[in-house]
C-alpha cells in the first residue's frame, strides 16, 4: 500500500501500522462520542466504553459484536437478579458475574459451533475483542446497582449506538486509508472537539424533552 511521506516516516520509526490505525480509530471514535453527547444528547457509559466497544466490533464484525454484547448483558442481568437475593459484598458479586460470564461465553461459542445459528466462524474472533465486550458488564452492572435499571439500559443503548456509528466509520476502507495518509486530520479533530466543547446550544434530545414547554408558551400567546 502507498503511504504519504509523513506516514511512511512514522512507520519507518518503528510504529507498527496496526498500532497507528488503532490510535487513529480511537481519535475518530472519541470525537464521535463528543458529537453524540453534546450535539445529540446520547448518554453512554463515559467515553472509554464506546471506544472499546467500537474497536472490538471492528475486530469481531458488527453481527458477532452485537450478538456477544447481547449475551454479555443477558448474563450480567440474570446473575445480578439471582445474586441480589444473597447477602454479599459488591466486588464479590461482580467477581461471580465475571466467572459466570466466562462460562457463558465459552458455552456460547460451543453452541454456535454445534448449531450454526447463522454465526459461523465464531472461533476466528480475537479473544481480546471478546474480553473488551465482556468488560461492558462492569459498566452495566455498576449503573444498574447505583442508579436504576432504566438509566443503565438507556446508557447501554447509547453506548452500543455510538459504538456502532464508530464501527461504521472506522471500518470503511476509504476513510481509514484517507486518514492514515492525511494525519493533519488529527489536529482538525482536536479543533472540532474544541468547537463542540464550546457549544452552548440545545442538544437534539432537549428539543424533545422540552417540547411541552414550547407548546405551552404557544398556547399562552
Amino acid at each position: 500500500m502507498y503511504y504519504s511521506t509523513f506516514t511512511q516516516w512514522i512507520l519507518e520509526h518503528g510504529v507498527p501500522e496496526k498500532t497507528l490505525e488503532l490510535f487513529l480509530a480511537i481519535t475518530i471514535v472519541a470525537t464521535i462520542v463528543s458529537i453524540f453527547r453534546y450535539l445529540f444528547g446520547t448518554k453512554s457509559y463515559g467515553i472509554y466504553a464506546p471506544i472499546l466497544l467500537a474497536i472490538a466490533y471492528s475486530y469481531t464484525g458488527l453481527k458477532y459484536g452485537l450478538a456477544i454484547t447481547f449475551m454479555v448483558i443477558t448474563v450480567s442481568l440474570l446473575s445480578h437478579l439471582v445474586l441480589k437475593k444473597i447477602r454479599m459484598h459488591y466486588i464479590t458479586r461482580i467477581a461471580i458475574n465475571y466467572c459466570l460470564l466466562s462460562i457463558a461465553l465459552v458455552s456460547f461459542i460451543i453452541l454456535i459451533d454445534e448449531l450454526g445459528l447463522g454465526l459461523e466462524n465464531m472461533s476466528t474472533v480475537p479473544p481480546l475483542a471478546l474480553i473488551s465486550i465482556a468488560a461492558l458488564s462492569d459498566f452495566f452492572t455498576k449503573q444498574f446497582v447505583q442508579k436504576s435499571s432504566k438509566s443503565s439500559f438507556t446508557a447501554l443503548f447509547g453506548t452500543v449506538l455510538i459504538a456502532t456509528a464508530g464501527w461504521f466509520v472506522i471500518t470503511r476502507d476509504y476513510i481509514s486509508n484517507y486518514v492514515i495518509n492525511n494525519l493533519w486530520l488529527i489536529p482538525l479533530l482536536i479543533f472540532a472537539n474544541l468547537i463542540i466543547g464550546q457549544f452552548k446550544g440545545l442538544r437534539l434530545k432537549d428539543y424533545f424533552r422540552f417540547k411541552s414547554v414550547i407548546k405551552e408558551n404557544d398556547t399562552k400567546k
Binding site: 453534546y38 444528547g41 447477602r87 459484598h89 459488591y90 466486588i91 446497582v145 447505583q146 442508579k147 436504576s148 432504566k150 438509566s151 464550546q198 457549544f199 452552548k200 446550544g201 440545545l202 442538544r203 432537549d206 428539543y207 424533552r209 422540552f210 411541552s212 414547554v213 414550547i214 405551552e216 408558551n217 404557544d218 399562552k220
Partner: protein, 484 residues
C-alpha cells in the same frame, strides 16, 4: 416567531454547565454541596435547620460498636457523598422486640441487612466516583399535614433554584407508590411546578413515564395508593416566603452562584433543608412549563441588595404568570385576600339608586357563611331589614350557642317575619355569641356574578367577609392586597 427562537427561553445542559455551573459554582463551593456533613456544618452557621444527625459511621470498626437500642423507631440512612437519592433508606418503624426495621413499602430490614447496606456505603457504592464514603444515620422528617395528604408515605420536598441572589424557579417533588415513597423523580415521584410569587402549585408531571400533564393523581399515576384523588394544582405551600428566604440564605452561605436547594416542611420544625445541589437538573422547566434561560439572563446583571430584595425581584419578575393557567387547569378562579367586589342593589325602586355598590371584601376561610356589615347592607337596599331586626331588641350577646339557639327557637317567627330575612344565624364574635339575620345578595367576585347568603353583622373593617361556602370555587392569592 420561528420554532428555533421559541427554544431560546429554554436552558439546556450544555449552556447550564458552561454559562452557569462552571463560572458561578467554584470547586470549593461544589465540595460543600457534594458533602452532606459539610453542608450541615455550613448551614448551621446561618441557623438553617437540617435533619438531626443521630450517628456518623466512618469505618467498619465503628459499625461494630453501634448502639442499636439508642436509635429511634424511625430514621434515615444516607451516604454522605451520594448522588440522585441513591443509597438512601428510610425506616418508618421497628418490629417489636426485634432488631428489624420497617421500610415504606413494608419490607423488613434486619440489623444484618442494615450493616451490609452501611458497608456498601462505606465502600463507596453510592458515592461519586466510587470514593470511600461515610454513612449518616439521621432524623426522619415528619411531613407537615398539608403536604402529607398528597404524598405516598415519603416526604415531599420543594426545590428552589436560585441565581445571583434571586429565586428563579421552584417545584415540589411528591413521593408516589411507584417511587417507593422517595421524592426521586427518576424513580417515579411526581413533580409539580410552583408559582414563585404565591407559592401556589401549578402543573404536575412524572418524568419517566411520559405521562400527560395533569393536575390530579388519578390521571398522572393510577398506581397511587391514596384514599381519594387529590387535586395537585392550587395547593398553597405553607411558609412560602420563609422557604424562599432559606433558599437564598443557603446560596449566600454556600457561595454557590447557581444552586438548587431542597427543602422539606417538617410538622414540628417548619422548613428544613435536605440538600444543596451544585448541578440542579433541568426538568423543573417542564414542571413549570417555563424556560429557565430567560429568567437567568434577566437577573444576571442585577445588583441584589439583600435577601428581601431578591425575593421581591423574583415575585415581580417571574410571579403571577401562571395565575391564568391555575384557573385553566384547576377550573378555579384566583382571588386576592383583599378583593374589590360589586354587590347588586336589593329591591331597587328609585331610578337615582345605583344598580350596584362597590365594596371591599376580605376572603376568610375561617368563617363558613359570608358576612356583610350593617352600614353596607343599608347602602345596598337592606335598610328596612336592619331597621326591622334592630326593632326586635334581640339581646346583643348570648353566653353560649345553646342559649342563642333557645332564643331562636322561641322567637323564630318574629325574627324571620321581614321578607328579606331568610333565616337567623348564631355567630361567634370574640367570646360572645350573637344572633343575626341572614339575607341573600347578588355579588360580583373576580368577574363572576354569584347569589350568596350573608349574615348581616353590626360592624366590620370590611364591607363583606367572604366565607368558606363561597370560596370553595376559588384559590386565594395571599401575595397581593387591594390598594384602590
Amino acid at each position: 416567531m420561528t420554532q428555533r427562537s421559541k427554544y431560546k427561553n429554554i436552558l439546556g445542559l450544555n449552556r447550564r454547565n458552561q454559562e452557569y455551573i462552571r463560572p458561578f459554582n467554584p470547586p470549593s463551593a461544589k465540595r460543600i454541596a457534594d458533602n452532606k456533613i459539610l453542608t450541615k456544618k455550613v448551614l448551621a452557621k446561618e441557623n438553617i435547620k437540617t435533619p438531626e444527625v443521630y450517628k456518623l459511621i466512618r469505618n467498619k470498626q465503628q459499625l461494630k460498636f453501634i448502639d442499636w437500642d439508642s436509635l429511634p423507631k424511625s430514621f434515615v440512612i444516607k451516604p454522605n457523598q451520594g448522588t440522585g437519592g441513591n443509597g438512601i433508606i428510610v425506616f418508618y418503624g421497628k418490629k417489636k422486640g426485634q432488631y428489624a426495621w420497617i421500610r415504606p413499602n413494608g419490607d423488613i430490614m434486619t440489623r444484618n441487612d442494615i450493616i451490609l447496606h452501611i458497608e456498601n456505603i462505606l465502600d463507596g457504592r453510592f458515592s461519586m466516583g466510587n470514593r470511600k464514603d461515610i454513612a449518616i444515620i439521621e432524623e426522619r422528617v415528619k411531613t407537615a399535614p398539608l403536604l402529607k395528604q398528597y404524598s405516598y408515605k415519603g416526604v415531599p420536598d420543594i426545590r428552589v433554584i436560585c441565581f445571583n441572589g434571586v429565586p428563579i424557579m421552584a417545584m415540589t417533588r411528591i413521593p408516589t407508590k411507584r417511587s417507593n415513597g422517595t421524592a426521586n423523580l427518576h424513580s417515579g415521584a411526581i413533580c409539580t411546578g410552583i408559582d414563585i410569587a404565591t407559592g401556589i402549585t401549578t402543573y404536575s408531571m412524572q418524568m419517566d413515564t411520559n405521562s400527560p400533564f395533569s393536575d390530579t393523581y388519578e390521571d398522572i399515576d393510577t398506581t397511587q395508593d391514596l384514599k381519594e384523588n387529590k387535586i395537585l394544582s392550587g395547593i398553597h405551600i405553607p411558609e412560602w416566603d420563609s422557604i424562599l428566604e432559606i433558599a437564598l440564605k443557603c446560596q449566600r452561605v454556600s457561595k454557590l452562584g447557581y444552586i438548587g436547594v431542597d427543602i422539606a416542611l417538617d410538622a414540628e420544625h417548619g422548613p428544613i433543608v435536605f440538600e444543596l445541589n451544585a448541578r440542579p437538573g433541568l426538568g423543573i422547566q417542564v414542571a413549570n412549563k417555563a424556560g429557565l434561560r430567560w429568567r437567568l439572563e434577566k437577573v444576571k446583571d442585577v445588583e441584589v441588595k439583600n435577601i428581601k430584595h431578591g425575593i421581591r425581584l423574583a415575585k415581580s419578575l417571574f410571579g403571577g404568570e401562571v395565575e391564568e393557567s391555575i384557573e385553566t387547569i384547576s377550573g378555579r378562579k384566583v382571588v386576592t385576600i383583599d378583593e374589590k367586589v360589586m354587590v347588586f342593589h336589593q329591591n331597587k325602586t328609585k331610578k337615582k339608586e345605583p344598580e350596584k355598590e362597590s365594596g371591599r371584601a376580605f376572603m376568610d376561610t375561617g368563617v363558613l357563611t359570608s358576612r356583610m356589615s350593617e352600614t353596607f347592607a343599608n347602602r345596598v337596599g337592606f335598610l328596612a331589614t336592619t331597621q326591622y331586626f334592630n326593632s326586635l331588641n334581640v339581646p346583643r350577646k348570648f353566653n353560649s350557642i345553646k342559649e342563642a339557639q333557645e332564643y331562636i327557637d322561641t322567637h323564630l317567627k318574629a325574627l324571620t317575619l321581614e321578607e328579606n330575612i331568610k333565616r337567623v344565624a348564631k355567630i361567634v364574635d370574640g367570646e360572645d355569641v350573637k344572633v343575626r339575620p341572614v339575607v341573600d345578595i347578588k355579588v360580583k367576585i373576580s368577574g363572576e356574578i354569584k347569589d350568596i347568603e350573608v349574615v348581616i353583622i353590626e360592624n366590620s373593617d370590611y364591607h363583606l367577609i367572604i366565607g368558606r361556602e363561597v370560596l370553595k370555587g376559588y384559590l386565594i392569592d395571599t401575595s397581593k392586597t387591594f390598594s384602590n
